[in-house]
Symmetry: C2
Subunit: 492 residues, 2 copies
């Protein structure tokens, strides 16, 4: 693949000077369109050492209006980054809609370098690349344009560049970049070639650019970028791709769902409740400290019918955990910074550091529940989000995070009883709104959505626990017990 | 001071049960008002070990609607936090307007503990406390309500609590908390007492609460909080405090300003420019790497007349620095997350990690320039911001950050020439807007504002450099040279 770009392409200084103003003008024009169309643009700058990636980054900063771009270098991860799944560092730097993010170093760097230095196997590399494909797909489906540049130098050209660089910085023999990189040129080329091939597709294309001549290199970058944005903007506004995951037939009828199987008749005596509450709260308190010391993070997601008792259950948990170790995220309407990003961005934001606990009072599942039912998300949006959510949670799992997801189930009769109680108790009134009454009318639609959600997103590493909630005591104990068990399993 | 709260105050369980619903209802009511009034509320939870601070945090989480509160524990700083000035960790967790932030551990912890363990002197403690006073003043003037709780236990009560705790966790002799804290009780009490005394004032009051009885403690917390919010909301909406820093008389006349002293006639030949440009760019490239290795951060602020050449100067700098080491922040309209915070919050956000460079294309000085001239900030707001800015920059300085501030000056005639050129060159057209022409009409007002800004905010550690910009070449070399010199000074 690379030999096809080792052509010795050149542009003279004169030609460069002649064409630069035009490229520049068009780029600025295109940037205006990006802003107007609210298009998020991700530019990935990668390639061999010595190809002048930094120069390209500077050139783009020179040509474009800096007010609409941000440059992010990914090279020395902070401990906050190291304590979270690999992609967190990229999510936190994603460009908002209408702006351009230049990624200098990117999600490709780690897998490729790790493979070159044989820290990972071919299979692991492939798994890493599949993650990348998923991420890019997620972003492009959400409307992002990803332009990926790979800057190539032949072996000889690289040696020459690095030699010059060694001279300039007066590097001694042991420090010579030329020697360091010469050793790995071939394996780097081989691994990158395979990575590029596997991750090149219509929606996020690679552009291989010969980098031996800086004038050719930079003008080409400009042109590719202009074309890519124009092409993207001339396409259909809304992604027209067909919905890939159609509903399986068993959900088309309103037959028995997983919710019908929850035994709502269970009860617990006050006395037994108090006894068990103390037992599991004490245990959870110890286990979360233990997890802190072992750097094991936990995420617990609480979903359920209105008035199912999510808040009460969460408080029984937080009462048992040292207040320094947990954080509760109540999911409310997104801010404008959140709206300018992929919908998962605002959940990535709050992923706990190693050893900490995050409790989500409602969660990313809103996408396939309220957003689905209320039509806030289009059909193809919420449908594809099952896969996106699974991928997100799998990354947490792989990172070692303990995930528990609770659906607290109650009967419609119990809900009605609680709604009425809320209206009558002064400090509960804030909990009941007209919206709750409206949601109640959509019980069947929610039931179907919940059932599908559980089926599609309950995985080995990230299980849904269906909690019988008609007796709050039963639900709380069940949740505490589940959390304790899942921590015990991994901490042994 | 503390003996005054060692009174053995108690509330019986029955009384607690009787009063709790009322407190709870009022708290929720008050929380609704907080939201409606867009009031940011900061609750500081501090006090002696064993007083049940974590329990109080949990209680507040139980009583309040969790959707409007966030709890932040400050105990184990991450390296991202350690690499920035002390207050950065708090700024990043400030509650947005209309919400409550519970600070478990706070800006008080470090100075007090450091003094107890004799890591700092009394003078350093006082300096630390003065910083805190400034911060709190800044926040309250911006409309925030700060409620500070100090939970106290007598020496005996603490010993008893920790003994129970030791038993519960089966701690061995060497690990006993009781013994650890008994040793430091007196010095801790003494240092905290003095800290509390120094930082207690009408606008951000301390509430000392006896913590030996949990019912009394929690009910009191609830009541204090309710009262504090109600009191705050009943006060005048807009802070009516008089403007403390009135203009010194010399600025009332439009006499000679510092801008008139800039020699705009300087010129540089093309040849000499190229020579010097190369020299200083190479030097800056090396110095920034050197600074990275020595973990010295830099901040450079670029302000100047429209078309003064800020962008061009910045690009000459970025072209010389490794693209991984710098970040350019173009200051544009704030997002809604930014608007929900003190105006300095969005600048704190981008403070560089140790060893990195942040270039601000326009900056926090917008407050005393455009916001002043256009009336976006009220008089008392922009006037007090000189002090806030000085305090902010002083923190950067103290942390070891190299700060350079450039005002690029040009004559009105030169500006006119450049405006016209911008209108005629295709890729420069995006740079000129109607607003630029309107700003031009306010030249004299800006001149006065700039002059005052420089006078009030040019300090030893954070100097303003007045740059002659009529010849762009002169300006660029001057800026590069200044940056090199300031780095050389600290890196020696």
């Amino acid at each position: 693949m690379f030999e096809a770009v080792e052509l010795g392409r050149k542009v003279s200084k004169e030609d460069y000077k002649k064409h630069e103003p035009e490229i520049r003008t068009q780029l600025l024009d295109v940037q205006g369109q990006i802003k107007e169309a609210n298009l998020p643009v991700i530019i990935i700058v990668s390639g061999v050492e010595g190809a002048g990636k930094g120069e390209v980054v500077n050139r783009l900063n020179e040509w474009l209006d800096t007010r609409g771009i941000q440059t992010h270098a990914f090279w020395d991860a902070t401990d906050e980054e190291g304590e979270r799944p690999y992609f967190w560092r990229f999510w936190r730097k994603m460009p908002p809609r209408g702006t351009v993010g230049i990624m200098f170093g990117s999600w490709y760097t780690h897998p490729i370098i790790d493979r070159v230095f044989e820290k990972i196997t071919d299979t692991e590399l492939e798994a890493g690349l599949n993650r990348i494909i998923e991420l890019e797909q997620m972003l492009t489906r959400d409307g992002a344009l990803i332009v990926k540049f790979w800057f190539h130098l032949s072996k000889d050209d690289q040696a020459k560049r690095l030699r010059d660089d060694d001279k300039k910085f007066k590097r001694k023999k042991g420090e010579s970049l030329e020697q360091q990189f010469a050793k790995h040129y071939d394996s780097f080329a081989q691994v990158s070639e395979s990575a590029i091939r596997q991750t090149d597709n219509g929606k996020s294309q690679w552009h291989l650019i010969e980098a031996s001549d800086k004038y050719y290199r930079d003008l080409t970058v400009g042109r590719v970028l202009i074309d890519a944005v124009r092409k993207r903007l001339s396409e259909n506004e809304s992604p027209s791709e067909p919905i890939s995951n159609s509903l399986p037939p068993e959900f088309e009828s309103a037959a028995v769902t997983i919710l019908d199987q929850v035994d709502l008749s269970e009860e617990l005596s006050r006395k037994e409740y108090k006894k068990q509450l103390k037992k599991y709260q004490d245990l959870l308190g110890k286990l979360t400290w233990h997890a802190k010391n072992k750097k094991r993070s936990s995420v617990a997601v609480f979903e359920g019918w209105d008035a199912a008792g999510k808040g009460g259950a969460i408080r029984r948990i937080t009462a048992s955990i040292d207040a320094r170790l947990y954080r509760t995220i109540s999911v409310a309407a997104p801010s404008d910074e959140e709206l300018a990003q992929h919908y998962l961005w605002r959940f990535w934001r709050h992923i706990p550091r190693a050893g900490y606990v995050t409790l989500y009072d409602r969660s990313w599942y809103g996408r396939v529940l309220v957003e689905r039912i209320e039509g806030f998300a289009k059909d193809h949006e919420w449908m594809r989000s099952y896969q996106e959510i699974n991928s997100f949670e799998e990354q947490l799992c792989t990172h070692g995070t303990v995930i528990n997801k609770f659906w607290i189930h109650i009967s419609p009769e119990e809900q009605l009883k609680r709604f009425k109680e809320r209206e009558n108790v002064a400090w509960k009134q804030y909990k009941i709104t007209d919206e709750d009454w409206r949601n109640r009318e959509k019980w069947d639609a929610y039931k179907e959505a919940v059932s599908e959600m559980v089926t599609r997103t309950s995985t080995a590493g990230s299980r849904w626990h269906m909690i019988a909630g008609n007796d709050k005591k039963v639900a709380r104990i069940q949740i505490l017990k589940t959390l304790c068990q899942s921590l015990e399993e991994v901490l042994d």
